[in-house]
């Protein structure tokens, strides 16, 4: 199996040397294999988002190494790492450019590498193809190609973010509580779309969630982060045999 991501001895300390010093990631080691769909759970403040942010590069690792598709990216920029990964944030506003149209957002998401060139970005012939893509979301977005994204609802915006995150064929997809800001019904729909996309495109995925049921239902692997360390890492049959009570017990 190819390793998509290898996190080695990762450390993150906020405000070192001050009274507020906080050791948030404590020697994290994690290997993500191609095709893994990992649910990441853990208490508030356990360091889940910090872990994902450090992988994505919005935070720099203080020590340790992050290998993406077999090369060290721990000193690389967010933009560089985005050639291999995509993200969906908790806040639907974060993942899309509100002043730009649905179409412009899709075009931006499609190519993470050639972002600066003098080619026309919008081609008339591409419209049907984008409409087809939007149709898969089942949210009527195919009629809003030229609408500015800020006029969409949170659920539509998040579904769009998710679609956008898959367009560049990422080696790794990072989801940070991406359904947390949605109402129960929409949240369920977006989770369903997520699973469909992950299955269909065989996306290697790390998904943070606070919904135990989602964590149990989706994915082939479950990782629990507690106090900056990985406390539980189960996959396959072992994961399938877990139930809510056992998980809640593990939180203690």
């Amino acid at each position: 199996m190819m390793k998509v991501l290898q996190v080695k001895h990762l450390q993150k300390v906020f405000f070192p040397g001050t009274d507020n010093e906080r050791h948030i990631l404590k020697n994290i080691n994690l290997q993500v294999e191609e095709g893994d769909f990992i649910s990441v759970i853990g208490n508030n403040g356990a360091g889940k988002s910090t872990l994902l942010n450090t992988i994505a590069g919005t935070l720099q690792a203080d020590a340790g190494e992050i290998d993406l598709v077999d090369h060290d990216v721990s000193k690389k920029s967010v933009a560089y790492r985005s050639r291999f990964m995509s993200r969906v944030f908790q806040d639907p506003k974060m993942g899309t450019a509100g002043d730009l149209t649905v179409m412009q957002n899709l075009i931006l998401a499609q190519d993470h590498q050639h972002t600066v060139n003098l080619k026309w970005y919008q081609k008339k012939n591409d419209i049907p193809q984008y409409q087809e893509l939007l149709k898969t979301l089942n949210m009527g977005l195919e009629n809003f190609l030229d609408t500015q994204v800020k006029y969409l609802s949170g659920g539509q915006r998040q579904a769009l973010s998710l679609l956008m995150a898959t367009l560049s064929k990422p080696k790794l997809l990072l989801l940070d509580e991406h359904t947390a800001a949605l109402d129960p019904k929409t949240s369920h729909e977006v989770m369903k779309i997520t699973d469909d996309m992950v299955q269909k495109k065989h996306l290697t995925t790390m998904m943070i969630t606070h919904k135990m049921s989602d964590a149990l239902k989706y994915g082939n692997r479950l990782v629990m982060v507690q106090d900056g360390q990985i406390k539980l890492d189960v996959r396959g049959v072992q994961k399938n045999n877990l139930d809510k009570e056992q998980l809640l017990a593990a939180f203690e």
């Binding site: 993200r87 450019a97 600066v116 003098l118 026309w120």
Partner: protein, 316 residues
């Protein structure tokens, strides 16, 4: 009066467009303007005095502005100096540089051939100015319009709108911000070069208040022409620059002394900032009233129909 404001407005249009790029596209209030405008003027006039053509002078003026933008851009993105302060630093530094270039605080052109003199001599100066302004504006607007149609332009717009999202989608946002600062100040300096040729001199103080003029033009333009289409927005900036000149000309006609023009500019800016807000508030209030009135009507209807059902029932 209208004719002269039109010509002058067109020469100021690149300034409005430059301010639009930082203020609207990148969402940064960039004070470099106050330094890059006279920088363009100083470079253009001294090059012409050294025997360069007016066209070369204007082009080099533009490039000089890009250089000023580069400095602010690097201070902002690489040194993480807040953008407002970064602009102030470059602007302050440029004061000395402009003084060095000019050697004294006011340098007049002698009998150098200015851009308007490339046009047929039979036309009067005001027509020449308008035609020159139109040519420059059409070139600037077309170039920018085409740029915004490319992937580069899309990346620039995205960066100004949502930096996190842009970098997560592979865009080098620092690079885009620097690029935005550069072209913005390039156009501002170009405007300075044109105005210096039109006035016949470069002056160390000619940058004072240009950020207010630029912002006011942007806002006035947006009051007249709305839309999210980039071509409409660029043309709105040209309209804004012209209307703004017209306002100033009217004020001068009313007898305001030239020294009071700066405070007038500031007052105009305050007004054009407030007008859209008040407009919006009035519009929302009116629509809310209309909506509530409709709701009431519906309520009335439902009450009467309820009453009549009751009546029917009671009769039974």
């Amino acid at each position: 009066m209208l004719i002269s404001s039109l010509g002058q407005g067109l020469l100021w249009a690149p300034l409005a467009i430059g301010v639009f790029i930082t203020f609207r596209i990148l969402d940064i209030p960039d004070l470099t303007t106050e330094g890059s405008f006279p920088f363009g003027a100083a470079i253009a006039v001294s090059l012409m005095l050294k025997g360069q053509s007016a066209i070369t002078a204007a082009v080099v003026g533009f490039l000089a502005g890009c250089l000023a933008g580069l400095v602010t851009g690097i201070l902002d993105t690489k040194f993480r100096i807040p953008s407002l302060l970064a602009g102030i630093l470059t602007m302050t530094g440029l004061y000395s540089i402009n003084m060095h270039i000019m050697g004294k605080s006011n340098v007049p052109l002698l009998d150098q051939k200015v851009l308007t003199e490339y046009l047929p001599a039979g036309w009067n100066l005001e027509i020449q100015t308008i035609i020159l302004g139109l040519i420059v504006t059409v070139i600037v607007v077309t170039l920018l319009y085409l740029m915004f149609k490319t992937r580069l332009g899309l990346s620039l717009m995205a960066t100004g709108n949502n930096k996190e999202m842009s970098s997560a989608n592979g865009i080098n946002t620092d690079g885009m911000i620097i690029f935005g600062y550069m072209i913005s100040n390039g156009f501002i300096a170009l405007s300075g070069a044109l105005i210096a040729q039109s006035n016949g001199y470069a002056d160390i103080g000619m940058g004072i208040g240009t950020i207010v003029i630029g912002l006011a033009s942007v806002l006035v333009g947006e009051i007249f022409l709305r839309g999210h289409n980039i071509l409409t927005r660029l043309i709105a900036m040209v309209v804004g620059a012209i209307v703004y000149r017209l306002l100033l000309t009217v004020a001068m006609g009313l007898g305001f002394p030239p020294d009071d023009l700066k405070i007038l500019s500031a007052i105009i800016l305050v007004i054009v900032i407030c007008v859209p807000i008040i407009q919006n508030r009035i519009r929302t209030k009116r629509q809310l009233k209309k909506y509530l009135a409709q709701m009431e009507e519906q309520d009335d209807e439902s009450i009467t129909s309820e009453a009549s059902t009751k009546g029917l029932l009671s009769r039974d």
